[in-house]
């Protein structure tokens, strides 16, 4: 038998860092919602121009819009915390010198910007 010290359900409200931790963990729900919303979008596109327009109109309804705005905030929180942690997971040495953690994080943020710009360019300018 192992003894588990009882922990109050709201232990994470005691400190700001705990709250950020829980919010970061909850960002996974927004990621799952993104998959659902995105697959509904693809389904609508396959059904034709009318269904595609209907999907966009549905997404513009206040309730869905609020859900998407909250989800957007959470996925941005996920991205920022993820790239900030990257230097802890990735230690790079160049000619025996350790690349400063800040550079590793900056590289990830740079990649984020480039990928986002390419996706936006394809969807907004090309199509």
């Amino acid at each position: 038998m192992t003894y588990h010290q009882p922990v109050p359900l709201l232990w994470w409200t005691r400190r700001r860092s705990y709250v950020v931790f829980v919010l970061r963990e909850l960002s996974s729900v927004a990621v799952a919602w993104f998959v659902v919303h995105f697959l509904l979008l693809v389904t609508a596109v396959h059904r034709g121009p009318g269904a595609y327009q209907e999907f966009l109109d549905w997404s513009a309804r206040p309730l869905i819009l609020v859900v998407n705005l909250v989800a957007l905030a959470f996925v941005v929180l996920h991205a920022v915390t993820w790239f900030n942690l990257a230097p802890k997971a990735l230690v790079v040495r160049v000619q025996g010198q350790q690349v400063p953690p800040r550079m590793i994080a900056a590289g990830h943020f740079g990649a984020w910007f480039v990928v986002s710009a390419i996706v936006a360019w394809v969807l907004v300018v090309m199509l």
């Binding site: 931790f21 799952a32 919303h37 596109v45 991205a79």
Partner: protein, 131 residues
């Protein structure tokens, strides 16, 4: 990624069990999914969830978008994104339940439910993308 799985301090207990192979695989998928979602999901959510529906930016026209989505490579990449995003969700969400809601005793049931959802979502994604 060092996605500090469990807050050792607030959880108030010390785990001595050594991580299994399955847990290692789950963590690896969580990590891969975390990276691709961090890179791709914010911009897609911003465009398709907010800016296109509101008409701030003109949404892609149907013909071009449908053609892009029927490209074989795009389908494979989007399926990869969906599956990895779901695997990322599953791992993080079950630990949110274990630690956040103190549901440590129902670990097995939560694991089964989460990964069953991943399987169902992946099949759905494959059906939709390759329709």
């Amino acid at each position: 990624m060092a996605g500090a799985r469990k807050p050792a301090e607030p959880a108030g207990r010390v785990s001595t069990a050594k991580p299994s192979r399955v847990e290692a695989a789950a963590w690896l998928m969580f990590s891969a999914g975390g990276m691709v979602t961090a890179l791709l999901v914010p911009v897609l959510m911003l465009l398709f969830g907010v800016l296109f529906p509101l008409g701030v930016l003109t949404p892609p026209d149907h013909a071009g978008f449908a053609a892009l989505l029927s490209h074989q490579l795009v389908r494979i990449l989007l399926l990869g994104l969906c599956v990895l995003a779901l695997l990322h969700w599953a791992h993080r969400f079950r630990y949110t339940l274990f630690d956040g809601l103190q549901l440590d005793r129902t670990r097995t049931a939560i694991n089964v439910l989460c990964y069953a959802a991943v399987l169902a979502g992946s099949v759905w994604a494959a059906v939709v993308l390759f329709a």
